[in-house]
Amino acid sequence: MKSDRIKFLVFALVVLLMPLPLSGGYLTNVLIFVGINSVLALGLNLLLGYAGQISLGQAAFFGLGAYGSGVLTTAYGLNPWLAMIAVAVCVALFAFAIGFPVLRLKGHYLAMATLGVGVIVNIAFNETVDLTGGPSGLSGIPNLSIGSLTFDSDLKNYYLVWVFALGMILLSLNLVNSRFGRGLRAIHDSEVAARVMGVNARLMKVQVFTLSAFMSAIMGSLYCHVMTFISPNSFGFHFSVELLTMIVIGGLGSVYGSILGALLLTMLPEMLRTFQDYDIIVYGLLLITMTIYLPGGLVEGIPALFRRLVPAKKVTEGSDA
């Protein structure tokens, strides 16, 4: 337990000191989105990696958070912080309500149902033009502020997002080591066995689904205030799949794995830019090879690779190319 706490503290320190070497450069901006994606991936990982329930509609909750805050602050002039809380609570209630029928489904039927929810929500963003601005997007969303401090630069937004992210990461770390977390893992291994042991599997699945929706909605609100512009195609099926990819690549059932996955996939387009037009091919190849050769994700793969390479002192490029 103690080593966990040290691990987190080191991680938090790295995060908080990170902007110093970057000196306000453009990477600070990218790392804001890494923070947002980390929490989104983490929410999905709690659901999928711990409780074993797939969701292909995670972007919908993110979008609801973003649009909720965006609309309430622009059209109705609500205080952004108040809007954030109100929206997150509403999204959580929505997830709780649909959670019962949806999470009764299993396997690919569950995938289909969550995908359906995602598609419907996205169509709603597109069609309620008077409210959301439709496909051409909603602009003029204010930045967040506390007193006279307005979060209008990359550096300020970086700390804003990462403070939230660190809070949620800490919450998740505590959660997965709690009775609740053990219950989730029991459901993952065998729902029937978990029930026999007295775990209220149905309720717990809905609870973790609600929690992940809540986390996504908060990040959605932050996203809209950082970007000050949102449009529906940022919250589509494509993004749900990207989140799924993040946690599989990073490591299922690992809090830090989610962050690693988010970091890699958010930075990847940047690193692949040297390949120019071929980047999409390299991206596809990477997904396939990493899944084949690092089945436990980066979080298991990197230390394993490290152990294999260090004593042998012989770098075998083929194993991770």
Partner: protein, 379 residues
């Protein structure tokens, strides 16, 4: 674990430092285009054209003896990525101006970035809200949707047709067109009887068209980009829809005629003059620019230059003029851009002012009709 995280972060830090290399000689211009993704039909010709024009300018000695350097990134039509890349252009590449993005969504997304950094942006997207209200640092070259709508409505009014059906695609392009179609209808005494949409990837629109066939509409106006309108043209033929069909400038390229085949016959649309450059009278102001662009594009890419590429041509040429007159600082370029008058480009004759950063009038469009698989001017 901690080693892992810290090495990862350290390597990113290094990556960042190494890209901040110094080379001040050429004038750096940033470009953001949606080269991949659903809007690649815009982004690809735009990127090609921008690079082509910059190369030509450099070959001819550059601007005031200094070469231009074009730094192009692909947004993939994704607003989040567009914002990141706009930041990169501003902070790492330190460009003096940005051209693009290709879509209205991407443009709206990066406006706060350029406004804050005080870097001039010449957008290549059509949405009128990019420059309405006027933003100090934002200009655009693509013709406003509103102008295209006005061109169609004028023609309908001339033919005394007052009842129309509209069918628009549910993406940024379609919804902007739909907004304009609805807003201007009353002004021309036109009544919209049915207002339908279709998805960008839909493959069958007979349901919407059957509904429109059953209405009293005297004309159908469809707003979309390939391949949707081609599907609509074919479906309309299948259903025997007898009312005239108007399309938007979003399909003003030979590709549309190729995709729709026989079904394209008789369809009308407002288009930039680039489609009909050879039919223009000799004294047309844009004629020289148009013919030069078409010839250049043909030489470089063995393809017909379309008006999407034209948006980028205009943006680079406007920028070149502004740098010649205003110097190489962002503020100088901005002021010179705003002072641009009567610049004959591909999209039209541009005259910017403090109140107008779109710079075009509805003369930028001509109404064309498809006849025998080619375009003719509608008189």
């Amino acid at each position: 674990m901690k080693k892992l995280v810290s090495t990862a972060f350290a390597s990113f830090a290094l990556l960042c430092l190494s890209t901040a290399a110094l080379a001040a000689q050429p004038i750096k211009i940033g470009a953001l285009f949606a080269v991949t993704g659903p809007a690649s039909f815009l982004g690809e010709p735009e990127r090609n054209t921008a690079q082509m024009v910059v190369d030509e300018i450099n070959k001819a000695g550059g601007v005031k003896g200094r070469k231009l350097e074009l730094i192009t990134y692909d947004t993939g039509g994704d607003a989040t990525k567009a914002v990141q890349l706009a930041n990169k252009l501003v902070k790492n590449d330190q460009v003096v101006a940005i051209i693009g993005p290709s879509t209205t969504g991407d443009s709206m997304a990066i406006i706060p970035v350029v406004e804050k950094a005080q870097i001039p942006l010449i957008s290549c997207a059509a949405g009128s809200k990019i420059t309405e209200p006027v933003k100090k640092w934002v200009f655009k070259t693509a013709q406003n949707d509103g102008l295209a709508v006005a061109k169609i409505y004028e023609q309908l009014k001339k033919e005394k047709k007052t009842r129309v059906a509209i069918l628009t695609v549910s993406d940024g392009f379609g919804s902007s067109g739909r907004e304009q179609l609805k807003a201007q209808a009353a002004h021309y005494g036109i009544q919209i009887l049915s207002d339908d949409t279709y998805g960008p990837k839909d493959t069958d629109m007979t349901a919407q068209l059957a509904k429109i066939r059953g209405s009293q509409a005297q004309a159908l106006i469809c707003w979309g980009t390939n391949p949707g309108p081609a599907v609509i043209a074919r479906n309309a033929k299948q259903l025997g829809l007898s009312i005239p069909v108007y399309m938007s400038h979003g399909v003003s390229s030979k590709k549309f005629i190729e995709l729709a085949g026989d079904a394209a016959e008789g369809i009308r649309l407002p288009s930039g003059k680039v489609l009909v450059a050879d039919l223009l009278p000799k004294n047309d102001k844009q004629r020289a620019s148009l013919l030069a662009f078409i010839k250049d594009y043909q030489n470089h890419f063995k393809a017909e230059g379309d008006h999407f590429g034209g948006h980028a041509w205009d943006a680079v040429m406007l920028l070149k003029g502004a740098i010649e007159r205003g110097g190489d600082t962002p503020a100088g370029i901005r002021n010179a851009l705003e002072a641009t008058r009567n610049f004959p480009g591909i999209g039209g004759v541009f005259s910017y002012s403090a109140k107008d950063h779109a710079g075009l009038t509805k003369d930028a469009f001509t109404l064309v009709e498809v006849r025998k698989k080619d375009w003719v001017l509608v008189k």
